[in-house]
Amino acid sequence: MSIFEYNGSAVVAMVGKNCFAIASDRRLGVNLQTIATDFQRIFKIHDKLYIGLSGLATDVQTLYQRLIFRHKLYQLREERDMKPQTFASLVSAILYEKRFGPYFCQPVIAGLGDDDVPFICTMDCIGAKELAKDFVVSGTASESLYGACESMYKPNMEPEELFETISQALLSSVDRDCLSGWGGHVLLVTSTEVQERTLKGRMD
């Protein structure tokens, strides 16, 4: 089994009309055994920027601690929040620093930039950025997620419809992957509010 499949994960982000949604599963496993069903993979960097980290759980936690540290320093120096594009470049640089001994994580970054234009991107474990206009996926269920998102996605969805779409895409994909699932965690971010919801799916 690959090191990326040790803990099991699924993360997806989608762009809507002046909003974005980011969702993840909630399982923490050790190979075939489930340890917890409330593991957090999506972290807030600031009010309009979230990062979802899939892959090895220990590196998820280490990377999150390093990134929040760097962002806090940035806030102190620049007296403002980081733009999503800047943050994506920062994550990419931090991952490439460990090119020959990488963090076994694939981040999904989602944020609202200037004028509340949604921004999403993903990268591999050594920081190769992949910008997308519609959706990005990562984790053990990524292949199922690609299929589900491709068929369910429409451009310029309103927040409620976007929430429905991302939830259905996540739940149907993790149902086909034994290493991820046990519910879902969805964050819907618009320019005025953040809605955080827990999904109840097949608990297996």
Partner: protein
């Protein structure tokens, strides 16, 4: 075939561990205490490579004490868990410790808590957790019978159920277990569950 498991009850947390010290096919001793009392209100149940286990848990214990001496107040359980995770994470890509840890603690305004810390430094706050081959049996028993806010009697009953399951179903099951609890009155040994007693001393014929 080391087994460590723990759970959180009503105002207390407990950790149970087997007490065999094994080297390949030889059992060196059957009364090895693998649940360390870190300070007045914390327990650290550890399983894994023997040398790493003792070294790492003693290192954590001494650092917890140093913090209290330097700062005059004890570390919270959450802070201890994060410190332990960081030590494991820093060592992971240099000289890893092969120790799995269940950290149980009681904090005055927070109550009891239990932290699951993997040997590769995965940290998660849990209500029930287990390591080792015994985890396949004890986690399933706990999934079936555990409910939040159990009394001490109910929790010990569940621990005994898990121990019975491990003894009857695990091929090289450890014979003896130690159970330690931590609550508002502190961390202490609660009971031993022995089916084989080590001989006190063998007289030369």
């Amino acid at each position: 075939m080391e087994c460590v498991f723990g759970m959180v009850g009503d105002g207390f947390a407990l950790v149970a561990a087997d007490t065999s010290a094994v080297h390949s096919i030889l059992v060196h001793k059957s009364n090895e205490d693998k649940v360390m009392i870190l300070d007045s209100h914390k327990l650290l149940g550890a399983s894994g490579e023997a040398g790493d286990r003792v070294q790492f848990t003693e290192y954590i214990q001494k650092n917890v004490h140093v913090y209290e001496f330097r700062n005059g107040i004890p570390l919270t359980t959450a802070a201890t868990a994060n410190f332990t995770r960081c030590e494991l994470a820093l060592a992971l890509r240099k000289n890893p410790y092969f120790v799995n840890i269940l950290l149980a603690g009681y904090d005055k305004n927070i109550g009891p808590s239990l932290y699951y810390i993997d040997y590769i430094a995965t940290l998660h706050k849990v209500d029930k957790g287990a390591f080792g081959y015994g985890s396949y049996f004890s986690l399933s028993m706990m999934d079936r019978h555990y409910k939040s806010g159990m009394s001490l009697e109910e929790a010990i009953d569940l621990v005994d159920k898990c121990i019975i399951e491990i003894r009857s179903r695990l091929v090289v099951a450890p014979p003896n277990f130690v159970i330690k609890i931590v609550d508002k009155d502190g961390a202490r040994e609660y009971a031993w569950r022995e089916s084989i007693k080590d001989a006190a001393g063998v007289s030369a014929a």
